[in-house]
Symmetry: C2
Subunit: 413 residues, 2 copies
């Protein structure tokens, strides 16, 4: 039995749709502005998104590690990014002896530094190394639910190649892996590869932008080429350099992923060199590839929900089916337990609403709010019609089918 409860209202200070629905559904809990807990339902979704990302990173040769969240000054000084004027979202803290430490904003520098211990020769390259680790960002405002928080887990992968040509080959693979991720979590059809500025790490970058009216970014979409340009760099010069002409459609969007060419910025600064076949010492050519599973989860809620609640894609839904026992009499309860046990036995992920003393309307409303892809109802009517009423969250009408058919149908989902 879940310890969470659904709520009628989200906290009054929550203005974002994702926070409202996720808090009301008991997926997340707000600890303070910009800091959320993941509750059992939310953690299931979160972990499924993480698994999809991990699979795609492993498919392009990524090796998983786990770096620390505490960072030291010496790591970020060579690129001048310890400076609060250069990187303005640091949280800093201190050891007992007054030594300053920083909380990971990102991990380019410590990853580069670590690799100096393992890369010596061209034979040690290429490498692609990633982790899922908390980032801390000292944001002035945190008003977008789990889409912009002061701490969040990010998958960041770093690529290490002998030169730009090999780097760009990997970069194209990473683009495809990112496209796969967004397709698999159910937002591929509204997510655009978007040319953007590089922020603090490089001149330009590619963002993945998902269309939503609540998005913080404005992008210009070129449908012919299935690509977009972020408003911040939408100039004739850039259009020309990308070989894009024709129509651009303005749209609001949210950034769900970001990939950068870093070049030799970090390897020069932190002395990550390799010896070429000819014996020459050269700087490693790097790239950086980020995605926040929480941001992805929040975006899915923003774009895949209706006025009743969330509509999870089955790939990341907390459960496959939401089983509701309607009415408190013994026959119904007995039948519902039988269905529940059959689903468990068939390895179908099921959430069982066996709460008593609640009306059908209340249970339906909770099921709509939680947004599990299938709703299975055991009631006097369904029993009299010889089965269970099954309905898709995304459809209006259900139908009554016998248990064996239900098991067969859901096993294939």
């Amino acid at each position: 039995m879940l310890f969470t409860k659904t709520k009628k209202e989200a906290p009054a200070d929550e203005v974002s749709r994702n926070a409202e629905l996720l808090i009301r559904g008991g997926f997340i809990h707000k600890e303070m502005s910009g800091v959320y807990s993941y509750l059992p339902l939310g953690l299931r979704v979160f972990n499924k998104i993480i698994s999809i990302i991990r699979e795609e990173m492993n498919n392009i040769g990524g090796q998983e590690v786990l770096l620390g969240a505490l960072q030291d000054k010496s790591t970020w000084e060579p690129t001048n990014q310890w400076n609060d004027n250069e990187v303005d979202v640091w949280f800093k803290t201190k050891l007992k002896n007054e030594t300053e430490l920083g909380l990971a904003v990102t991990h380019e520098a410590p990853m580069t530094k670590m690799l100096t211990e393992f890369i010596r020769s061209y034979k040690d390259l290429p490498k692609a190394i990633y982790h899922f680790q908390i980032k801390f960002r000292n944001e002035i405002r945190a008003k977008s639910g789990i889409m912009r928080t002061r701490e969040f887990i990010m998958k960041d992968l770093y690529s290490f190649n002998i030169n730009e040509k090999n780097h760009l080959e990997f970069y194209e693979k990473a683009k495809e892996a990112y496209k796969n991720i967004f397709k698999r979590v159910g937002i591929g059809h509204i997510t655009y590869l978007t040319f953007a500025s590089g922020g603090m790490f490089s001149k330009f970058s590619h963002e993945f932008q998902t269309l939503t009216s609540t998005g913080e970014d404005t992008i210009y979409i070129n449908e012919e080429n299935n690509i977009a340009i972020n408003k911040e760099v939408f100039t004739d010069k850039i259009k020309k350099s990308l070989g894009l002409s024709g129509n651009f459609k303005e749209a609001k969007a949210v950034e769900v992923g970001n990939i950068f060419t870093l070049g030799t910025k970090f390897s020069d600064a932190l002395n990550l060199k390799y010896q070429t076949e000819g014996g020459e010492n050269k700087s490693v050519f790097m790239g950086s590839y980020g995605i926040g599973p929480g941001r992805v989860m929040g975006t899915v809620v923003e774009v895949l929900s209706d006025d009743k609640g969330i509509i999870w894609p089955s790939s990341i839904a907390p459960f496959t089916v939401h089983l509701l026992a309607l009415g408190d009499d013994k026959e119904i309860s007995k039948e519902a337990v039988k269905v529940y046990e059959s689903l468990l036995k068939a390895n179908i992920e099921v959430l069982f609403d066996d709460r008593t003393g609640m009306s059908a309307g209340e249970k339906f409303a909770d099921a709509d709010l939680l947004g599990i892809p299938w709703r299975a109802v055991v009631s006097t009517r369904s029993i009299s019609e010889g089965g269970i009423e099954i309905k898709k969250r995304s459809e209006e009408k259900g139908k009554v089918i016998p248990l064996d058919e239900l098991l067969k149908m859901l096993a294939s989902k």
Copy 2:
């Protein structure tokens, strides 16, 4: 191919055996004093320990969540634990508007606070809720490798019951779950349930102490009852209150887990009440149950290693078998690749040492250092004898067996 390399030496400032072997083997990387990265080999071990802990927590009804690492003052003030004199290992930081935040030392208070939103009535109890989340401890010294670090992931479970009686029933179950964990990771035979002081959270606690000459603690073992008492509370009064008499053997040990009865300390302070069947408001009775998978991993290395390296128990070994191709000629390489692919196909976790230009001695030394339970060697000799030489890490002698026998044998491990 792993990006890590074995090393002849650990950093000069590492004095602990676990850090020395884990760094030399490429399991972990030292970022700074008290902060380590987990490299691919180390992360595999770490995740296997986490899986075992998670299974045992789920078995006693634990529900998994994920709370934040940033904490606010108001959460810890009611128990006076925001005060740096009361809790002397805080790392503190600040928002841009100067609001002070703390980095999670532990999560009793935020977990209690969160539960006030979900617990109303005796019907909502009991509950057991846990997470795996980073803790930050501003330790003055951090000299024990991954056994005492400034940041580390901890599994902390909190139990919520209507009264002490029900709490103690759960507490006994948690004890058994902890015993299972230590048994499963291979240190059950040298780990003692140990009566100890309660530190900052309660009067007394139970620690799980693993015998090792490098341990920071001294315990007194009562073999007859398979229980120990920590030196800090080893008095006649305590012995009497526990009903223990007879012989006590002094030993050095390291604390690998810790369980506390919290009582109503946090629920009183943070107003976590429930309504009894009779309509009365009462404080929830709580317990706290901690274990650090990194500390467990370090302890396993301290106690299960020899002068050549680590000897992983198969339950948490990074791989089941370490396959070595000895000699650089084509026939050996072809045969080794065939064995490797057969192992992969049979779903046996294999690390393949296909490095060229290395002597048999160097490869054997690395295999011993890495400590994978089985070593499989393909060499001119093994091929001439019709198979692969298989040897246990913990034994001196191996034997040559054919491939099908190897697959059969390892599949059952």
